[in-house]
Amino acid sequence: MIDFLNALTLLANYIIVPGLAYGSQLALGALGVTMVYAVLRFSNFAHGELMSFGAMCTILCTWALQSFGISLTILPTALLAIPAAALITVLYCIIINYFVYEHYREKKIDTNTYFIVSIGVLFFTAGLIRLVIGPKDQNFSDGVRFILKARDFKAMTGLNEGLAIKTTQGMTVVVTLILVAFVFWFLNRTRTGKSMRAYSDNEDLALLSGINPKKVILITWIITGILATVAGALYGLDKIYKPFTFMYLVLPVFASAILGGVGNPVGAVVGGYIIAFSELIFTFAYKKFLFYILPESFSPDGLVQLLSTDYKIAVSFLILVIVLLIKPTGIFSGKTI
């Protein structure tokens, strides 16, 4: 019985807790991608860099707050910095939309050209980030590191295995829940949110109904900017902020969006968690876990790991390929919000 509890704790510590946190970050990222896709109808390859941009703004605002001696004592100061950072990121999105995307939307350009355009934006944003904050890693988490320390957990329960919950992990999940709930409330309950869905569903009819496309697009970028900032900041807080990683983060983010059904917000969130948990389940070394649940004579020699952690990225790719082969429209058959 104790062994079983130990095994469970092991899973909770290495898969469930980090999976929830990472899944939340992916969900927020995928939600942003899906919003842009649903309203502007293109896959925004620059979304990873947008997340990076949001994280960078959060770091800069955190430093500014810290230099004034403001901190949240227990929680990371970054939490206070996120709103200001989101504001900057939203402004950036709006500027980019005004100078770049708007032109192509008015000309009703094809999807392929949109790719190239979003790559131009990606390049520019990546350069801007490196210019402002440099290519180096930044650690900007402060406050109490753990909600629950592994040692305390062991002392509390008397188990061999510890369960640690980082403050950033707890914060990630809570913030994501609030933000996702807000976005869904906005889309389904408010007039403006409904008009966004209408525009995404049937552009011509929306125009006929007097829905202003410029306003819809503006609000889309506002939401996308906020989502990207929060996703990027939480990802940076939870791990470490590395400007180079965001280019590849696009992959699991897109995989999440496609798995759920591109353009479907529920799908994006569900997809995010599925991708996150699959990555962890596929790359977890089950040696210790099996040691607890199997009789002693059966315990394995190797790590019992399906895939080396270096190939995390392959998991999202694999899922992507499977989705493309079996059901390209994704679980929730997306297209519109």
Binding site: I116, F124, L131, G134, F254, I258, A314, L320
Partner: protein, 437 residues
């Protein structure tokens, strides 16, 4: 007529810029840039096939370039006898089992059509068993290989064949990977091709970084054999010494220039061959059909054209060219360094080349390759010079000046982004626009 004049003057301008570098900096630098320009031009030609001819967006160019690099290591490095004897058999059996698994699972997939949705299960089981089997057989072998003198070798080495062969092999490898990706994604919306290629390029990068038994991973493979003579050997040759004195050039500098010229000759041969092929393709019925499909896929389909097949062909061909260019680049570098590959540099810059040069026009792609690579290299000295002069008012001690000087290397990303956006907006056809048929 106008277009012809434009082409000639643009290429003359490009030549002039290279000459200026030769006179101002050094001929070595100029040739170094020229060689990479040629390689970039080949990559751009490949991407132009995919993007310019057919409108396919391949976001995984980097992956195909790495595959080319891997090919040079596998083909040209001398085999490491010890690791072969420890783990060679394990690897070979692993490979055989991998191929067997792939063949068996495709067979099962094809034969179980009547099972509809349930056919995923047997296929998945076969793949899983195969995968675990490969891990079981090859795993210990890999550990043994990687453990053997890890600092010096720790990998199997290659076949010790002439490196020029690897250029072809690189192309073939890239083509086969492209075929698989194309089969899966080309029938779907273009977004999926983009994201799948981005994914496969990331996986290839991680393989190159982590599979030490294959090409030493991040420990790099150095001193890859050359297709051209070594400077030191040339310097000892009598005829070379005589040539050097007759040309009135210092021996060391001349040997280095001579080697670069040799590379240049090889690369130019490939470039001209590929250009000839691409031109042939563009003006053949095949190329016309390809463009017709790009411009109006629905009507092309309605006319009974096999769009998927055409797309697959052009995607594979383009990727093969990129693979060859990747092998050429590693050959020129003389080393394979997985850490140096990034999507920005090796995927998206190539798009800037094609778009700026003129997508759909082979000469345009080549010009774009030359021009963008030139600025990619020279933007740093030019940028430094600009910042140095414009910020000198701020004084030597200025923090802003120091920060700008420090980050000038990153300026090129922003510049590339700006160039791409500006060209797309104000000259979407590029410098040498596509020619009407």
């Amino acid at each position: 007529m106008n277009l012809k004049f434009r082409k000639i003057s643009l290429f003359l301008l490009m030549t002039a810029m290279l000459l200026i570098v030769g006179f101002l900096q050094s001929w070595n630098v100029a040739l170094l840039i020229l060689n990479m320009c040629i390689i970039s031009a080949i990559m751009a030609l490949g991407v132009n096939l995919q993007w310019g001819f057919a409108g396919l967006f391949n976001a995984g160019i980097m992956g195909f370039i790495i595959v080319g690099g891997l090919a040079t290591v596998i083909i040209s490095m001398p085999p490491v006898q010890e690791t072969w004897s420890i783990g060679g058999m394990g690897i070979i059996w692993g490979l055989i089992l991998t191929i067997f698994t792939i063949v068996l699972s495709t067979l099962i997939w094809r034969k179980t059509k009547n099972l509809s949705r349930f056919r995923y299960l047997p296929t998945a089981i076969i793949i899983l068993i195969g995968y675990l089997g490969v891990r079981f057989i090859a795993g210990p072998a890999i550990d043994a290989i990687e453990g053997f003198e890890a600092a010096k070798t720790g990998y199997l080495g290659g076949f010790g064949l002439p490196i020029l062969i690897s250029w072809g092999v690189g192309g073939l490898l890239a083509a086969s990977i492209a075929w698989v990706i194309g089969k899966i994604t080309l029938d779907l919306k273009s977004d999926y091709l983009a994201i799948a290629t981005l994914g496969i390029s990331a996986i290839i990068l991680y393989i190159a970084k982590n599979e030490d038994w294959l090409a030493r991973g991040v420990k790099n493979v150095n001193s890859i054999p050359r297709p051209v003579p070594y400077e030191i050997n040339l310097q000892n040759e009598l005829w070379f010494q005589e040539l050097s004195t007759s040309l009135n050039m210092p021996l060391r500098e001349f040997s280095s220039i001579f080697v670069k010229l040799c590379y240049c000759g090889l690369f130019l041969t490939v470039l001209i061959a590929f250009l000839w092929l691409s031109q042939k393709a563009l003006f053949s019925p095949w190329g016309r059909m390809m463009r017709a499909i790009r411009d109006n896929e629905t009507s092309a389909r309605a006319m009974g054209k096999n769009v998927s097949k055409r797309h697959l062909q052009v995607f594979v061909l383009g990727s093969a060219m990129i693979g060859v260019a990747g092998a050429m680049m590693t050959t020129l570098d003389g080393q394979f360094t997985p850490n140096s590959y990034t999507p920005l540099r090796f995927t998206f810059v190539i798009y800037v080349m094609v778009i700026v040069g003129g997508s759909g026009n082979n000469l345009g792609a080549i010009l774009g390759g030359f021009l963008i690579w030139f600025f990619w290299v020279e933007s740093e000295p030019i940028g430094l010079w600009l910042i140095d002069n414009t910020t000198s008012i701020l004084g030597e001690e200025s923090l802003i000046r120091a920060h700008l000087m420090e980050s000038v290397a990153h300026m090129r990303y922003m510049t590339m982004g700006l160039i791409l956006l500006l060209v797309l907006r104000f000259a979407p056809k590029g410098l040498i626009p596509e020619e009407k048929l």
